[in-house]
Amino acid sequence: MPGLVEVVARYGETTVVVEPASIVDAALHLREAEGFDFLSDITAVDYLGWGEAGVSGYIGTPGGRDINGPATQGYQVVPQPKPARFAVNYHLLSISDRPRRVRLQTWLDDGQGVQTVVRVWPTADWHEREAFDLMGVVFDEHPNLQRILLDDDWEGHPLRKDYPIGGEPVRFSGEA
C-alpha cells in the first residue's frame, strides 16, 4: 500500500490513512489490487477548533468528566487530537468483487493541495468540485476545478469552521 500511515477499524468500518503525496498511487492500488472499483463519495472535514470549546464553557479531561467542574455542558471526554486541519475521506466500494467498503483518508493543512483522483474514478469530478467549493480543498490537476454549488464570485468556503454564520450583507436598491 503506497504511502500508508495507519489502518483504523472502528464502528465496523475500515479507514486507511495515507500520505497526501501518494493519494493517486494509493487509489490506483485500491482499485487495481483490492477491487474497489466504485467511488461512493468524497467528504472533506474541517477540524479547526476540534476539542477546544464546549457548548457553554465546560471542557472535560482526556480521562473523562471532571466531577468538580460544572458537569452538565460540553464534552464529557476531550476528543482525540487530529494530525492536521482538513481530512479528505474517499468512501470506496467494491461492486464487481465481493461487496465491501473502505474509507481512504488523507490529512491536509490549510493551503495544502492534493492530487485529483478523476483519472482513477471519473465520478470524482463533481465530488472534488464540491469539496473545493464548500471547504476550499484544492485538488491539483483537476480538469475543471470551479465552484459547483455556489456562485462563481462567492467569497469564502461556507463549510469551514471559521466561516461566519448568521446572515450576509444585503444591498438595497438605491444604495450606492
Binding site: P99, W121, W126, N144, L149
Partner: protein, 426 residues
Amino acid sequence: MTSTARRTTGAPIYEGTRIPSPIPTVLTTPPELEATGDILTINFGPNHPSTHGVLRLVVDLYGEDVTGLAAVIGYLHTGFEKNMEQKTWWKAIPYAPRIDYVSFQNNEYVFVGAVEKLLEIEVPPKAVWMRTLLAELNRIHSHLVWLGTSALELGAISMFWYAFREREQILDLFELVAGYRMHTRYFQVGGLAEDVPRGFYPEARKFCEWMPNAIDDYETLLTRNKIWLERTEGLGLLSRDDAIALGQSGPVLRASGVDWDIRKTEPYLAYHQVDFRVPVFETGDVYARYLVHMAEMRESVRIVEQCLDRVERMEGEPWIADDRKVVLPPRHELHTSMESLIHHFKIVTEGFRVPEGEVYFAIESPRGELGCYVCSDGGPKPWRVKFRAPSFVALQATATAMNDALIADMIAIVGSLDTVMGEVDR
C-alpha cells in the same frame, strides 16, 4: 429468500467507454463542427418545466443534434449540511427528509441510522419493521412521482393523473401514521416517534391490494405503447463499466445490467428477513430504467405486505429503545417522576451526546446509494454531516448518456436518471 441470479449474458451495450475526456461531465462539441458556424448554444433551464426542479443545461445544438452539454447546478443550494452542524443531533433530524423531498422517509432513516451506528443503540423489532414498511411505501411514492412526471414530459399526460392518484393514497397513509403527509419526522433516534395507530393496518392492506392492479394499468398504457417505445428504447445508453466508473447507483445501475442493491448486499433494517427480487435489465437505455422502476414497485408492495404481517402481530410491543440518555421518557412519566422530567428537559434543551467518531452509513434509496457521513466530537451537535446524494451523482452521467441524442431525447434521458434537484444541490 430468493435473489436474482447474476445475469451475465452476451453483448456489451456499446464497445469501449463514452465518458468524455478530460472532463468526465462535460460533452464538448468537436472542433470541426464548431468550425461550420452552425452550432447554436442554448440554455435549457434553469426554469424549464421538464428539468425536475431547477437545473440548467448549457446545450450545443447542430440542427436538432446535441453536440455539447454541460450541467450547471446549485440553484437550490440551501446549506443543509452547515445548518445541521448548528443544531443538536435530534433537532437536525427534520433537515434530512427535506433534502430529497420525494423520498423523505429514506433520507430521514439514513441520518437516524448513521447516528444510531455511532451510538451503537439497539432498536426494537417493531420500529425496525415499521421503518422497513414506510421506507418501501416511500419507494413506491418516489417511483410514482418519477413515472408521472417523466411520462408527462414525453406527452403521456394521463399517466401523471393515474400515478398521482395512487401517490395520494400513500400520502394519506403517511398522514395517518405520523400526522404529516410529507417530511413526517416519524423516525426518532432509537425507534419511532409515536406508536403505530390501529387504523393504519387495514388502510395499508387496502392499498396493497389495490396497488398491483394500478401497476398493471400503468403497464397496459406504456410498456408496449408504440410511441413510448420509440421515445425510450435505445436512448441514453450507459454501459455497465461506464455506469460503475461514473458512480451510478439504484435503478440506473440496475438498468445497465449490474445486479447491485444495498438491500441485498449489505442488508439493513429487516431486509434480510423479507423475500424480494432485485430486477436487473441489460439494455442500459431509458426503457430499461422504466422497466426497473415498474418491477421495483411490484416488489415493494410485496415487502410492505410482509412487513404488515409482522408489525400487526406486535401490538403493545415497544416502538422505541428504552435508553433514557438518548430517548425522551414516556409522556405519562413526566407527571410522576422527577428523573423523567429532568431527562426530558435535558434532552430537549441540550440534546443527547453522541460518542466521538465518524461513520458512513449507506442505504438503497429509491434513487440509489444514499450515504450519510457523520462525524461527532462527543458533544451534542454533529461536527460534520455529509450526504452522498444519488441524484448528484446521477446528473454526472448526462454527458455520457447524451451521446448522439436529439434535443427531444434529452428530456427523456435526463428524466430517466431520476434526479431530484433538492438533493443534487442540498
